[in-house]
């Protein structure tokens, strides 16, 4: 039988009144417990990430690929930047040479 159908039980519960006072600093303690629970959840997310990273780098193939990809990007960026700078210097020096041998261009 469902307790919801018991009329005498429902009547008894409706008449029941709690007379005992709340323990001291009851609300403070509730908030403290909520804060502790949230902190524990955040910590567990960090731990989750840490475990994921550890698992990922624990695989030699992934670790090797990670290092190789970063190395490749470093080398490519260095080559590209060097090439751009070198071209810029060459252009400046070419202009400087022309300026030296043909200064009359600027005193027309």
């Amino acid at each position: 039988m469902n307790p919801g159908d018991d009329k005498s039980l429902q009547e008894a519960l409706a008449k029941w009144k709690v007379a005992a006072p709340l323990p001291p600093r009851f609300q403070d303690n509730v908030w403290r417990r909520i804060e502790r629970a949230e902190a524990a959840r955040a910590e567990s997310f960090g731990q989750l990430c840490q475990a994921w990273v550890e698992r990922l780098f624990g695989r030699p193939a992934f670790a090797l690929s990670y290092v190789a990809v970063l190395l490749f990007f470093g080398l490519t960026a260095g080559y590209w930047h060097g090439r751009v700078d070198r071209r810029q210097v060459n252009t400046q020096l070419a202009e400087r040479y022309v300026q030296t041998v043909a200064p009359y261009r600027d005193i027309q």
Binding site: V53, V67, L70, F73, A77, R86, A94, R96, Y104
Partner: protein, 160 residues
């Protein structure tokens, strides 16, 4: 976690190291040129693949040409100043002003003639192919309206 951190740091370190090594290697010739006493001549040597003997000959030509070139420039500038003063004073095209203008035109023509002679001399001191390339390039820079094969190179020369 220590192992993961080590691999993460190693990857970043290798990327930074590789970047720096390749960058410095790629810009080493340009840095060497900039540190030389005449960077533009050092560039010329590198750009037109000259050996030391050819480079020495070109430096000699360059040193001989520069004082004459400066003197011609000084003359043109002073003549220009005189012409400007005369125009400001008279406000008309007098025979005197015409004469000044002719003199300036003659000076400019002489300057261009000497410049062309210098370019030809420099190109002959270079390896033949490079000499032709130099001549095409320098004429495109200094005589923008000239015609012929060199004229075609006027807009297509791309210094590497």
């Amino acid at each position: 976690m220590k192992r993961a951190l080590l691999i993460l740091t190693l990857g970043l370190g290798l990327a930074a190291g590789g970047y720096a090594a390749v960058y410095f290697a790629a810009t080493a010739p340009a840095r060497a040129e900039m540190c030389s006493s005449a960077p533009e001549l050092a560039w010329l040597k590198q750009e037109f693949s000259m050996d030391d003997a050819q480079f020495a000959a070109i430096c000699k030509l360059h040193e001989a040409y520069l004082p004459q070139c400066r003197e011609r420039c000084r003359l043109i500038q002073s003549k220009n100043a005189v012409l400007s003063a005369k125009i400001a004073k008279t406000g008309a095209v007098t025979p005197d002003i015409e004469m000044e203008m002719n003199e300036i035109a003659q000076l400019r023509a002489d300057c261009q003639k000497e410049m062309l002679r210098h370019f030809v001399a420099v190109s002959r001191a270079m390896p033949p192919q490079q000499g032709q390339r130099y001549l095409d390039w320098v004429l495109a820079q200094t005589f923008p309206c000239h015609t012929g094969a060199a004229g075609a190179a006027c807009h297509s020369m791309d210094m590497q």
